[in-house]
């Protein structure tokens, strides 16, 4: 190893996340043992790092910062329409039961249609489900080949560390299914195999998503009815 290379490598030595492999470290060490010039440079580098690093990292964090951040984030989420609708719906429930209503934010006009949608009294459609997921910042479309009149919930859940959309379909005792929408960019499902009684896997090549369908009962009960001719 030449002195020139050592100069380069020194910056990579002694790092918390190992930057050099064992042979590189060995030959660096060997060189430093035999070359006083480089050994001195290495020592000066380390002295500076030891003097500066701990001081630079030692910054006192305000005790109330975390609470402030969480509060602000919650306030910003409060600006999301569906959450406002839920809050308004709760306020109406209190109002009609004769309770006292305190509102700490300006009142939001409630539309009955929106309200029914969000308390799942209106029927979902593939389109409204798609829009809901899009509003939550999720990619991936709700699957075809389901009867959307049977869609009970649309959820955004954390699955293996990532946010994904989940649709729950149900037809009485006949069948209940949860569909997870997994974009290919984020999930690999190659190792999964279908189970004829509980797990169906569908790949959508156009939208580049996989639908994992976990179900109980007869999945055919959730399929759209053919149009009456």
């Amino acid at each position: 190893m030449e002195c020139q290379d050592v100069k380069q490598l020194l910056a990579f030595a002694d790092r918390k996340c190992a930057e050099l492999d064992a042979p590189e470290l060995d030959s660096l060490k060997q060189h430093l043992e035999t070359c006083p010039t480089c050994a001195e440079a290495a020592q000066a580098e380390r002295a500076l790092d030891d003097a500066v690093g701990p001081v630079l990292r030692d910054v006192a964090v305000p005790a109330d910062l975390k609470a402030k951040v969480l509060k602000r984030l919650a306030a910003e989420r409060g600006a999301v329409p569906w959450k406002r609708v839920l809050a308004a719906a709760a306020a109406i429930l209190i109002a009609v039961t004769g309770g006292v209503v305190w509102l700490n934010s300006p009142a939001t006009a409630v539309s009955e249609d929106e309200l029914r949608q969000f308390v799942s009294m209106n029927q979902w459609t593939q389109e409204t489900a798609k829009q809901f997921l899009k509003d939550q910042g999720l990619v991936g479309l709700p699957p075809d080949n389901f009867e959307y009149g049977l869609l009970q919930h649309v959820d955004v859940i954390r699955f293996q560390g990532r946010l994904v959309g989940k649709l729950t379909f149900s037809r009485g005792d006949e069948c209940t299914a949860s569909v997870l929408i997994l974009p290919w960019k984020q999930f690999s499902t190659k190792h999964l195999t279908e189970n004829p009684t509980s797990l169906s896997i569908r790949h959508d090549d156009v939208n580049e998503v996989t639908y994992l369908i976990l179900f109980r009962g007869n999945l055919d009960a959730l399929r759209p009815k053919p149009p009456i001719t």
């Binding site: 910056a11 500076l48 630079l56 964090v61 984030l73 910042g137």
Partner: protein, 178 residues
């Protein structure tokens, strides 16, 4: 009912895991606790909006640091405080330290960092935070490794020189900057 509101939002876990590191980073970048608080808050607000872009939890810290730096650069440009000077004045990195450094004082160090242009301040702060590899620093700054290395070497030489001076001389020896 919708399930989204029931569980703890994902962003809250990110706050708990990373707010302190982000604040420290912000503080060393901008040198003011008020600005550092604002930047930390702004970072998480942006992250909340862009959470869907985060593909892997393991990348969350680097992702948040990148958002914070971009927010900081944005402010810097808006306030036109960005230093236009390069580190030519610092000269070549000396082969060895002239003499042992005196004990480093935090405020003294911050003063020296403030004198550095952002392009040099950011890599040295990230370097000393020790949580990031060179690869991470390259990605966060979006410049080649060679550029990161040479800025780091110059920034270190600058700090070595500045920190060897008594604190009261600082800011007087390198006039023409800023």
């Amino acid at each position: 009912m919708l399930g989204f509101g029931r569980s703890k939002p994902a962003i809250d876990s990110l706050v708990e895991a990373h707010y302190a590191a982000l604040y420290r980073y912000a503080y060393r970048l901008c040198g003011s606790s008020q600005d550092a608080e604002d930047l930390t808050q702004e970072t998480f607000c942006l992250a909340q909006k862009k959470l869907f872009q985060l593909r892997e939890d393991a990348r969350a810290k680097s992702w948040l640091f990148t958002i914070l730096r971009n927010a900081y650069l944005h402010r810097l440009r808006a306030s036109k405080q960005e230093k236009q000077v390069s580190l030519e004045a610092v000269g070549e990195l000396s082969e060895r330290g002239p003499e042992p450094l005196p004990a480093v004082d935090s405020a003294h160090l911050q003063k020296a960092l403030n004198e550095l242009p952002e392009a040099f301040r950011t890599p040295i702060v990230l370097f000393y935070f020790e949580d990031f590899s060179y690869k991470d620093i390259v990605e966060q700054m979006n410049v080649p490794l060679g550029t990161v290395m040479s800025r780091l070497a110059r920034a270190k030489a600058f700090l070595r020189q500045r920190l060897a001076e008594p604190a009261e001389l600082m800011g007087k020896t390198n006039q023409g900057e800023g």
